[in-house]
């Protein structure tokens, strides 16, 4: 099975403090550390587990700038067979639809049985997978937390739904799935693995390589634009308890009892 995984890098929220910059129009990016979006790693691991079982290849594609070739390379260190970068200045400022358009152009030039994305990135949008599927006219499922290959060009998948229940579906190939974290345990990629792929060339394709109409991508084509970042005013906010720990504990218990919580 030939699988495509769409991956990108994001500022790692665990290792960074996300703050507004001094100018107030963006987050402070100076000390930021980027790593591959966590759900994307789960998607690559899911793809690798499938090909390890039934054969095939895993290709990892990233939409970004020239410096983003470390993403497909890192996933190749994990075990992906091919890595590709879709980069062009005119891609800058694309919204979700623009990204999906770029990916669609790549998919149309190749053959893939299955396309995976991570459920969402740091912006919490969770949109590119669904958009790509609609553009390709492939069936789609989001929040996938189990995949089973069934004969005859089908998959049996589980989706995470309300209350922690799992919705079982059957989906025809080719299709697009967005993968939820926790579906598997992604394998570790150490420095040595990264070193071993450091000199593998990652092909970079631009708009003309993809036969892409530049009017459909980039800032000009974006219908949804982020204007700024801000920290909402605290409003009432929480009443903060201070003092020595036993005093705080005492106050807390009184408040809790007052709310009818202790009996």
């Amino acid at each position: 099975m030939d699988i495509l995984v769409c991956a990108r890098k994001v500022p790692d929220t665990a290792e960074n403090e996300i703050e507004l910059n001094r100018a107030g129009n963006d987050i402070e990016r100076d000390d930021l550390v980027y790593s591959v979006n966590e759900p994307d790693n789960y998607a690559v691991e899911a793809a690798l587990q499938i090909t390890e079982k039934i054969g095939g290849s895993v290709t990892v594609v990233t939409v970004g700038g020239e410096e983003d070739d470390d993403v497909p390379r890192r996933e190749m260190a994990m075990g992906a067979h091919h890595g590709v970068l879709l980069a062009d200045e005119c891609f800058q400022g694309s919204d979700g639809r623009g990204i999906a358009t770029i990916l669609k152009a790549y998919v149309r030039r190749n053959h893939f049985d299955l396309i995976l994305t991570g459920v969402q990135g740091e912006d919490g949008a969770a949109q590119v997978g669904g958009m790509l599927a609609a553009m390709l006219d492939y069936p789609f499922a989001s929040l996938v937390n189990s995949i089973e290959v069934v004969d005859g060009g089908k998959l049996r998948i589980g989706r995470e739904i309300e209350g922690g229940s799992r919705e079982m579906n059957e989906i025809d190939l080719p299709c697009v799935l967005s993968i939820q974290t926790g579906i598997n345990e992604p394998r570790y990629v150490g420095m040595r693995g990264i070193r071993q792929v450091a000199s593998i060339p990652i092909p970079a394709l631009d708009a003309s390589d993809l036969g892409l109409d530049t009017a459909l991508v980039g800032a000009a084509a974006a219908r949804v634009v982020r204007i700024d970042y801000f920290v909402p005013p605290a409003g009432d906010g929480a009443r903060m308890l201070t003092g020595r720990r036993p005093e705080i504990a005492g106050q807390l218990l009184e408040i809790v009892a007052g709310k009818g919580g202790l009996n």
Binding site: E122, A126, V224
Partner: protein
């Protein structure tokens, strides 16, 4: 102004809580005209829901097909794409179904798509000024959405507060559709495992997040929960790390709880987690990071290491409990 539609989810003849929220949001987009409800399904339950919606909407579009008895996003998307006029604004709740439905639907409608909207600040003929959050709720962003070709907006559950409605005299408009066999087919629903206790039954919940740091520290939460007569629940990372059973998870993909008191210990306060807390309980946040988003949502805040604070609180409670006798 384009026509505003609200996608109403329903079960067993009753509309979902989100319906009232969508209505409130629609009013912000078009204060002048009532929106239209759009509902899919099949059978008696659907009929009842649509009748009820007539009280709030100018029109209720009832899309029926036998295949739609279970809300399969693939089928619903197809049905809506066939029915909605070009340029409409569709409001959908940003939940498991909305995430599944809307991105693809926006492409089929050639409309803009904005997910997880928490506020609608300004509404103009060609654009909407919206608010979203990023980085797990750590920061907010203003977003401008071009609605000249219509839009699909997924709204964060709980972000828009329902308000009193003027009575409407809407009528139901039937849209029977025929749908071919979908390429994604619903098989069954596997319910979440029961687990040892049912956290939805407790009035006090001591809820732990990443800040608990290791499985063994759960004992501290257990002690306090016992001292307070409550139970231990958690956020998603604790379940992912396999320290607690999924049945203890509070959140949009976990349980919805309605306690009187909710102690959020070492929980940053992502909306998926908060979405599981209903009924406006007293939320107390204990977190080492004074900038954690949870402090905006909690009524009482304590900036401290929960590993220190929990045992002290349990200790003080025990002393008081003894003294009271």
């Amino acid at each position: 102004m384009s026509r505003v539609f609200c996608f109403i989810q329903h079960a067993e003849g009753k509309p979902d809580d989100s319906a009232a929220e969508l209505l409130a949001a629609a009013a912000k987009i078009n204060p002048v005209e009532l929106p239209t409800a759009v509902v899919t399904g099949w059978g008696k339950d659907l009929d009842i829901v649509c009748e009820g919606l007539c009280a709030c909407y100018r029109e209720v579009w009832k899309i029926t097909a036998e295949a739609l008895v279970y809300p399969n996003a693939e089928l619903v998307r197809k049905a809506l794409a066939g029915v909605l006029p070009h340029g409409s604004i569709l409001l959908v709740p940003h939940n498991h179904f909305g995430i599944d439905l809307s991105p693809g639907l926006s492409i089929k409608l050639d409309a803009a798509y904005v997910p997880d909207v928490v506020e609608i600040e300004r509404s103009e003929e060609m654009a909407l000024r919206l608010v979203r959050q990023e980085f797990g709720g750590q920061i907010s962003a203003h977003v401008l959405c071009d609605i000249s070709s219509g839009a699909v907006l997924n709204l964060r559950p709980g972000a828009f507060h329902p308000h009193a409605q003027a009575a409407a005299m809407g009528r139901v408009r039937e849209w029977p559709v025929s749908l071919e066999r979908p390429r994604r087919r619903y098989l069954s629903t596997v319910p979440a495992e029961a687990g040892d206790i049912d956290i939805t039954k407790y009035k006090v919940l001591v809820s732990v997040g990443r800040g608990i740091q290791e499985k063994d520290n759960l004992a501290l939460a257990e002690d306090l929960a016992e001292a307070l007569g409550g139970a231990v629940s958690c956020s998603r990372p604790v379940v992912d790390a396999k320290w607690l059973d999924k049945s203890r998870q509070v959140g949009s993909s976990g349980k919805t709880v309605r306690p009187k008191v909710y102690l959020a210990c070492g929980i940053s306060g992502s909306f998926q987690h908060l979405a599981g807390i209903k009924g406006n309980p007293l939320i107390v946040a204990i977190n080492k990071n004074p900038k954690a988003p949870i402090f905006r949502v909690a009524q009482i805040g304590i900036v401290d290491d929960l590993l220190e604070m929990l045992p002290v609180t349990a200790h003080v409670r025990q002393k008081r409990g003894v003294a009271a006798h």
